[in-house]
């Protein structure tokens, strides 16, 4: 057993997928929590403060590098798996498999992942690039400090109904991706005890729904003017 086996063996690859997947899930919790500050209805002050904290703390910035590495690894490894697995059955069945149990989203993780990736590209272009790279955002006074007005950027972006719809669709893709990924990751780590699985499975489903619904509500709230 060499370290490289973790990246080349079928089970090792799945372990990397699960590990990066779970860290991305952890990130989603933080992300959703912070963004929920928009609903403070304080004209974005709390939200912008939180964003300032995230952008100006060394530990967080280092973690951000880890996050991007994780996303990249998850994407690359995922695509490799999808393409490798597809090549294991060159002659396809004339009648598609109907096993009566597997969920469509479990079978479509590659597709869902790709949709999430496309969404991610748009999302990064909307917020992360102007904030971290091009620095084109308006400034806002946050107590004694001056920060970027990401809140205003959100209000701006989510004026377009098309963008809102794309965001909601992105969230739905993510939701199904998570519904499978959450429990699958734990199984990859070896969780097999029925007592744990009976907790883990509903937790995974509800987690996916709640997190993704939270995200989806943000553009909707902004578009419909529920926050200001």
């Amino acid at each position: 057993m060499k370290w490289i086996d973790l990246f080349t063996s079928s089970v090792g690859k799945k372990f990397i997928m699960g590990l990066t997947g779970i860290s991305l899930i952890a990130f989603l919790i933080v992300h959703a929590g912070l963004n929920a500050c928009i609903w403070a209805n304080d004209n974005g002050e709390m939200f912008n403060t939180a964003a300032y904290f995230m952008g100006h703390t060394v530990v967080i910035r280092i973690a951000e590098i880890g996050l991007f590495a994780g996303i990249l690894l998850h994407i690359v490894q995922g695509l490799v798996l999808v393409f490798q697995n597809q090549r294991k059955r060159t002659v396809k069945y004339a009648v598609p498999i109907k096993d009566g149990k597997s969920k469509w989203y479990s079978r479509s993780m590659g597709l869902l992942g790709t949709l999430v990736l496309l969404f991610l590209v748009m999302h990064i272009a909307h917020f992360w690039v102007p904030s971290r790279i091009t620095h084109t955002l308006d400034e806002v006074q946050l107590g004694l400090k001056t920060g970027e007005n990401l809140y205003a950027r959100m209000l701006d972006v989510f004026q377009s109904p098309l963008v809102v719809i794309l965001y909601v669709l992105g969230c739905i893709s993510l939701c199904y991706h998570l519904m499978h990924g959450f429990q699958s990751a734990f199984r990859t780590f070896g969780v097999r005890n029925d007592r744990y699985l009976s907790i883990l499975t509903p937790v995974g489903v509800w987690f996916s729904i709640i997190i993704c619904a939270t995200f989806a509500m943000m553009p909707i709230s902004m578009y419909l003017g529920w926050v200001n």
């Binding site: 086996d5 973790l6 089970v11 697995n85 004339a94 096993d99 149990k101 597997s102 199984r187 097999r192």
Partner: protein
């Protein structure tokens, strides 16, 4: 009843293969699916055509030889069943049934519906055993084993190695087959001394044999004639990671 059969015909492993359509008449609902094939083959022989080759042996659901992918499902529509135990009651007059071989690059077609599953033997050779030479055993009752562990081990050992799991998996993964063997042996104290090498070597062999990886769609469990649980795959993963990180 009268039925239309669309059956995959392939002369040998290098032939491209194609579907052929046959009509069978007066099929009794008491026949087994394979007996219906017997009738068809007799008919073909009479007509001077070549009968359809298919694997089968015990015809009582235990040897694991029969292997037909019937209307999109390995072993046909019944739950926890093998092709040989499927009976024609499952169909009604006028039905069309499409029959294909197991499809996976790791299971090359030998002829018609017959595939080569020797990859399974080689996975077992990689470590699916307990190294104990004949005559070295201590008294059978010298080593008590918790009943629930023995039962769980038995449930995993019930695998008949038919390959339906591979056939149903969108990735053609052999994880359910392999995890059944790993679980069977890892759950028993006798299997403990070799458990780390066993799982590492078996996984390495599975990868070499051109099977895909597991993405937990659980299709394998749904079609397994012996109802082998996917929790065995979780156990295999745990065993693998434990071995990968702690092996010397």
């Amino acid at each position: 009843m009268n039925l239309t059969l669309k059956v995959w015909r392939q002369k040998n492993s290098s032939d491209k293969g194609h579907f052929e359509t046959y009509q069978v008449k007066d099929i009794s609902s008491e026949m087994s699916f394979l007996e219906m094939f017997d009738v068809l083959n007799e008919q073909l022989i009479k007509e001077g055509k070549e009968p359809i080759a298919f694997d089968h042996d015990c015809r009582e659901g235990i040897c694991g030889m029969c292997s037909m992918y019937i209307n999109g499902r390995p072993h046909g529509p019944w739950h926890a069943n093998t092709t040989c135990q499927l009976h024609m009651r499952a169909y009604k007059d006028g039905d069309t049934i499409v029959v294909e071989p197991w499809r996976a690059n790791a299971f090359p077609v030998i002829k018609d519906l017959v595939v080569d599953r020797n990859a399974f033997d080689r996975i077992v050779q990689a470590g699916g055993f307990i190294s104990v030479n004949t005559g070295n055993a201590v008294d059978a009752n010298a080593l008590p084993i918790e009943k629930h562990k023995a039962d769980e081990s038995f449930a995993a050992a019930a695998c008949i190695g038919c390959g339906a799991c591979v056939a149903a998996c969108k990735n053609s993964s052999a994880m359910l087959f392999m995890s059944a063997k790993v679980s069977h042996l890892a759950l028993l104290p006798q299997g403990d001394p070799e458990r780390k090498n066993r799982v590492l070597n078996m996984v390495a062999q599975m990868d070499k044999e051109n099977f895909g990886s597991c993405t937990f769609t659980q299709a394998c469990e749904a079609v397994c004639p012996k109802e082998i649980k996917v929790t065995n795959i979780s156990r295999l993963n745990g065993e693998y990671l434990n071995a990968a990180f702690t092996e010397q």
